[in-house]
C-alpha cells in the first residue's frame, strides 16, 4: 500500500539528518535524562519507601477503576448512541462528548464547587437529611475516580464506537436470522467481536488517567491523598527530600515502563481487531415502548454532565465572597475583572498563547517533515523516527516534564520558556505526524516522479507535491497542538518558573492559594474559548463528529 520514492537525493539526506537531529533533542534528550538520573543506586530505597508505595497503590486504584468505568460507560454509550433509535442522537452525542473539551483540572474545580464539602449540592442534600456535617465530599479517592471517569469516557466511547462500526453486519444478521433477539445478538455476537477493542480501550484510558495531574491535585492534595503524579509534584515543590530529582526520575522511569508495556499490549490487540469487511450501517435497535423513557433519562444525564460544571463555574465566579449565597443583589462581575487584572493572569495568558502557537508551528513543520520521510522514502531510520515522534503520545506528560527539568538543567534552559516549548514539542509533535500520515501515504508517486523528470530535486519534488497535498492535514494537526497546549497543566506545572507561568498553572495556583472565585472565572473563560475554538475546527467542513474523532485519536493516551 505504502508508496515510496526510492530516489534519495542529497537534499533528502540533509533533510533526514536535520529531522533526526531535532528528534534527538526533543525525544532522546529528555528520555535519556530520566534514565540517567533514575539509574542511581541511592534511589531504590526511596522508591520502595512508604510514601511512594502508598501513592503507587492510590494511582493504580484510581486509574484502574476509572479506566474500567470509562470503558463500560463508553461501551454503553456506543450501543445507545450508535445502535438504538434514542431520540436526538446527534445532539445527545455532542452533549456526552462535552467533558472532553473541558481541561480535567477545570472539571475538578467545577465539580468541587458543587460536590465539595461546602458545595451547593452537598449543602442541599445535607440540609434534606438534616445533617450539619457534609454528607459527602468530592475530596479523596472516590471523587478523583469519578472525575477521571467523566473526563476519560468520551475517548473510550469514540474508540469503541469506531470498532463497533467495523463489526460486519452480516454476522449480526445471521444471528438474527437464526432467531436470536437483538439484545442476545449484542451480547453473544457483537460484544465478543469487540472485546479486544474494549481491553485496548481500558489499557489506554487507565494509563492516561495514571498520568493525570490536575484532578488528583485539586481533589487529593487538600486531604493529603497522593497519587504518583501529585507525589512527584510535592517532592519537587516542597523540600521534603534531599534528592528530589533522582527520586522523581525513578518514579518517572517506572511510569515510562508502564506506558511502554501498555503500548505493546495496545498494538497487539489492535492488530487482532481487524475485520475483513467494513460493517456498513447496521439496523437500529428499536427501543419500542421504552424509547421515550430511555430518551428522557439519556438527555437528563447528558444535561447534568455537560451543563452542571458550567453552571457551577458561573455560580462560583459571580459570588462576591465565600459563604455568601448568590442572589440578584449579591451577584458581581468583579471576580472576572479582578482575575484578568492580575498581571500574573495576563502574563499566563500571553505565555500560553505564545507557547501554543510556537509549538503548533514547530510541530506542524517538523511533523510534516517526519511524516513525509517515513511515508515517502525508504530508510532504516524510518522506524526510529516513527517511534521517537509518536511514542511520547503514550508517555505520561509528567515523565516528559521531569525529563525536561533534568535536560533543561543540563543545557542551561531550566526556568525559561524555551524548556516548556521544547517539552510541548516532545509531547505534541505526534498529533501532526498522525494527521499527515494518511494523506501522504495515499498520494501517488507519479506526480513526484513527473516533477523529478522535469528537473526538480528530490526535496523540491517532495515539498512541492507531497507537502502541499498534506498541508490541510498538517494545519489541522497543528491547530490541535495549539488547542491542547494552550490549556496544558501537567507539563507546565513542573517547568513553570517566575515569569514563565502558563495559564493552566496560574489557574491552578489561584485554586491552591484559596482564591476559588478567581480560579473559577479564568476557568470559565478557558472553557468558553475552548468550545469556540473547537467550533471553528468543527465547522471546517468535516462535521463535528469526524473532527472530534480525529481529535480523540491523536489525543487519546496523552
Amino acid at each position: 500500500m505504502r508508496s515510496q520514492v526510492p530516489g534519495n537525493g542529497p537534499g533528502i539526506v540533509t533533510l533526514r539528518a536535520v529531522v533526526l537531529g531535532c528528534l534527538a533533542v526533543t525525544f532522546a534528550l529528555p528520555m535519556v535524562a530520566v534514565v540517567v538520573l533514575a539509574l542511581n543506586p541511592g534511589v531504590v530505597s526511596a522508591l520502595v519507601g512508604r510514601d511512594v508505595l502508598q501513592a503507587a497503590i492510590n494511582s493504580a486504584v484510581t486509574a484502574g477503576v476509572s479506566g474500567l468505568l470509562a470503558t463500560l460507560i463508553g461501551a454503553g454509550l456506543a450501543v445507545l448512541l450508535d445502535r438504538t433509535d434514542v431520540r436526538g442522537r446527534r445532539h445527545l452525542r455532542l452533549l456526552y462528548f462535552s467533558p472532553f473539551l473541558v481541561p480535567p483540572f477545570i472539571g475538578a474545580i467545577a465539580w468541587l464547587s458543587l460536590l465539595g464539602p461546602s458545595g451547593d449540592i452537598t449543602q442541599a442534600v445535607s440540609g434534606l437529611v438534616g445533617s450539619s456535617e457534609p454528607v459527602f465530599s468530592l475530596y479523596g479517592p472516590v471523587g478523583i475516580t469519578a472525575l477521571l471517569t467523566i473526563h476519560s469516557y468520551p475517548a473510550a466511547y469514540i474508540i469503541i464506537s469506531a470498532s463497533l462500526r467495523r463489526v460486519p453486519t452480516s454476522l449480526e444478521e445471521a444471528a438474527r436470522l437464526a432467531g436470536a433477539g437483538r439484545l442476545r445478538t449484542l451480547r453473544d455476537v457483537t460484544l465478543p467481536l469487540i472485546r479486544p477493542a474494549l481491553i485496548a480501550t481500558f489499557t489506554l484510558t487507565a494509563v492516561s488517567n495514571l498520568s493525570d495531574f490536575g484532578i488528583p491535585a485539586i481533589l487529593g492534595l487538600p486531604v493529603r491523598y497522593y497519587t504518583l503524579s501529585t507525589l512527584i509534584y510535592k517532592y519537587l515543590v516542597s523540600s521534603v527530600l534531599d534528592n528530589p530529582l533522582q527520586v522523581v526520575a525513578a518514579i518517572g522511569l517506572v511510569l515510562l515502563l508502564v506506558a511502554v508495556i501498555a503500548v505493546l499490549v495496545q498494538r497487539r490487540l489492535s492488530r487482532s481487531v481487524q475485520f475483513e469487511a467494513d460493517g456498513g450501517a447496521p439496523p437500529a435497535i428499536e427501543l419500542g415502548r421504552s424509547r421515550t423513557p430511555v430518551s428522557v433519562v439519556s438527555w437528563a444525564v447528558a444535561a447534568v454532565i455537560a451543563l452542571f460544571p458550567l453552571i457551577a463555574l458561573l455560580n462560583q465566579s459571580l459570588i462576591p465572597a465565600p459563604g455568601v449565597p448568590l442572589t440578584w443583589q449579591t451577584m458581581t462581575f468583579s471576580n472576572f475583572t479582578d482575575a484578568i487584572a492580575y498581571p500574573g493572569a495576563l502574563n499566563g495568558i500571553i505565555n500560553s498563547v505564545v507557547l501554543s502557537i510556537s509549538a503548533a508551528l514547530i510541530c506542524g513543520i517538523l511533523g510534516l517533515a517526519i511524516g513525509s520521510l517515513i511515508t515517502r522514502t525508504r530508510s532504516r531510520t524510518n522506524v526510529l523516527m516513527d517511534l521517537a515522534s509518536t511514542l511520547p503520545q503514550s508517555i505520561p506528560g509528567l515523565v516528559i516534564g521531569v525529563g525536561w527539568i533534568i535536560a533543561g538543567i543540563w543545557v542551561g534552559l531550566y526556568n525559561t520558556s524555551w524548556v516548556i516549548l521544547l517539552a510541548y514539542v516532545t509531547a505534541f509533535v505526534a498529533f501532526v505526524v498522525q494527521s499527515v500520515r494518511a494523506p501522504l501515504a495515499a498520494a501517488s508517486d507519479s506526480m513526484e516522479e513527473a516533477a523529478r523528470i522535469s528537473g526538480a530535486s528530490a526535496v523540491r519534488a517532495m515539498i512541492d507535491i507531497s507537502w502541499r497535498s498534506a498541508l490541510p492535514a498538517a494545519a489541522a494537526g497543528a491547530l490541535l497542538v495549539a488547542l491542547t497546549a494552550v490549556r496544558e497543566l501537567t507539563i507546565s506545572v513542573l517547568l513553570a518558573a517566575p515569569g514563565t507561568r502558563t495559564l493552566g498553572v496560574v489557574i491552578f495556583d489561584l485554586q491552591q492559594s484559596g482564591d476559588f472565585s478567581a480560579a473559577a472565572s479564568l476557568s470559565l473563560l478557558v472553557v468558553i474559548v475552548g468550545l469556540l475554538g473547537l467550533g471553528v475546527v468543527a465547522s471546517r467542513g468535516d462535521g463535528v463528529d469526524q473532527s472530534a474523532q480525529k481529535a480523540v485519536r491523536s489525543y487519546v493516551n496523552n
Binding site: 461546602s118 498541508l471 518558573a497
Partner: protein
C-alpha cells in the same frame, strides 16, 4: 479545494508571523532578570534605580499587585517580575536554584524571621538596613541588618458566624471534643506561618507537645495554606479554623459570615520580612523595593490591605484590634529557627500516626 488550501496557507503564514514575532519579543524577556538586568557595578549611587527585579513572595496575588503598582508610582523605571507561591514552595525553589547555578530572585518577601535566619546563615542574603528602619517596631528589625519585617500577621481562631456550637476562647479550647472534625488549619509543609506557629506552640509552656497531640487527635482538616482555610471557614465547612488574621478581615469586609477570636493565651505572629538576595544583579532597585515596603506610603497601603503595620504612625486596619492591645506570644527567633524543622516533622508524624 483551492479555497481551503488558500485559507490554510493564510492561517499558516499568519500563525508564522505572530509566533515568530512573539518568540522574538516575549520569550527572551520571560527569562529571569539576572540574565538581563544590568550589573550592579554599573548603577551609580545618585541615579534613580531602574531595570528589572524579580520578587519571590507569599503575599496574595491581588495584594502584591497593588503594592507593585504603588511602588511603580515612585519608581516608574523599575520592572518588578512577580513570582507568588506558598513559603514552603519558595524555599524549595530557592534550594533547587542554588543547586542549578544560583538564586534567580532579587527580593524575598515572605513568612517569618526564622526562615530568613536560615537563609542568612547560608549567606544568601545581602546586608541592607533601610533608612526608615529606625521608625519601625524594634522587634521586627534584624539586629544584624539582613532583613526587616513588613507586616504584623497574627494567627488567630476564625469562626463561621452561622456556627451553632459555642465559640472557643483559647487555644486550649480547640482540643475540646465538641470541636472534633470542625477545625481547619494550614499545612506547615506549605505555609510559613503554620510552620512558625507549630514551633512556637511547642515552645509555649502552657501548650507544648501534649496540646499539639490533643489538637491533632481532634481530627482537624489540614488544608494546603491559609487561603483555602479562610475560604473553608467562610463557607462553613468546617466552621472553625486556625488562620492568619488579615484574610478573615478581607472576607468579612466582602460580606462572608466570618469572625475573629483572639485566644486568651496570646497570639503567635509573623512579621513577613523582606530582604535583598546577595546574588541580586540589581541591588539598587531591590533595596528601593524593600525600603518602599516599610515607608509611610507602603505601610499605609498595608493598613488599607487589612494588615497590621510595623510602624505606629499609620493607624490600624478597620475592625482590627490594635497591636498595643494584643496579647502576643513573643518568640525567641533563634530558638524557633533551630526547632522549626523538627516541629513540622513532629506535627506530620502525629497526623500520620
Amino acid at each position: 479545494m483551492i479555497d481551503r488550501r488558500r485559507l490554510v496557507l493564510i492561517i499558516v503564514s499568519a500563525v508564522t508571523a505572530v509566533s515568530l514575532a512573539s518568540c522574538a519579543t516575549s520569550l527572551p524577556s520571560a527569562q529571569p532578570s539576572p540574565a538581563t538586568g544590568p550589573p550592579a557595578s554599573e548603577a551609580p549611587g545618585g541615579e534613580a534605580p531602574s531595570g528589572e527585579i524579580t520578587l519571590y513572595t507569599s503575599e496574595p496575588e491581588n495584594k502584591i499587585t497593588e503594592v507593585i503598582q504603588a511602588f511603580n508610582e515612585d519608581y516608574p523605571d523599575v520592572t518588578v517580575n512577580l513570582y507568588r507561591a506558598a513559603t514552603g514552595e519558595l524555599t524549595a525553589r530557592i534550594a533547587s536554584e542554588q543547586e542549578a547555578g544560583g538564586v534567580r530572585a532579587d527580593v524575598l518577601l515572605a513568612a517569618d524571621a526564622p526562615t530568613f535566619e536560615k537563609f542568612k546563615v547560608q549567606n544568601l542574603l545581602a546586608k541592607f538596613v533601610p533608612q526608615e528602619a529606625k521608625n519601625l517596631l524594634p522587634s521586627v528589625v534584624d539586629p544584624q541588618g539582613y532583613y526587616v519585617g513588613t507586616r504584623i500577621i497574627p494567627t488567630i481562631i476564625a469562626y463561621n458566624t452561622n456556627m451553632t456550637v459555642a465559640r472557643p476562647t483559647s487555644w486550649k479550647d480547640l482540643t475540646d471534643p465538641i470541636y472534633r472534625g470542625k477545625i481547619a488549619m494550614p499545612n506547615p509543609d506549605v505555609s510559613g506561618a503554620a510552620a512558625f506557629n507549630t514551633a512556637l506552640w511547642l515552645d509555649t509552656p502552657s501548650l507544648g507537645e501534649p496540646w499539639l497531640k490533643a489538637l491533632v487527635a481532634n481530627d482537624p482538616s489540614v488544608l494546603q495554606s491559609n487561603g483555602p482555610v479562610s475560604q473553608a471557614i467562610a463557607e462553613g465547612q468546617p466552621p472553625l479554623g486556625i488562620v492568619v488574621d488579615y484574610l478573615v478581615r478581607d472576607l468579612a469586609a466582602k460580606g462572608s459570615p466570618i469572625g475573629t477570636i483572639y485566644p486568651s493565651e496570646g497570639v503567635p505572629y509573623i512579621s513577613q520580612p523582606a530582604a535583598v538576595f546577595e546574588s541580586s544583579a540589581n541591588k539598587p532597585a531591590a533595596e528601593a523595593f524593600v525600603s518602599f515596603l516599610i515607608s509611610e506610603k507602603g505601610q499605609k497601603l498595608a493598613v488599607a490591605q487589612n494588615y497590621l503595620p510595623v510602624r505606629e504612625d499609620v493607624g490600624t486596619p478597620k475592625g482590627a484590634v490594635p497591636l498595643s492591645e494584643l496579647t502576643l506570644l513573643e518568640p525567641d527567633i533563634a530558638s524557633i529557627a533551630a526547632k522549626q524543622d523538627a516541629a513540622v516533622k513532629l506535627f506530620n508524624s502525629l497526623l500520620d500516626g
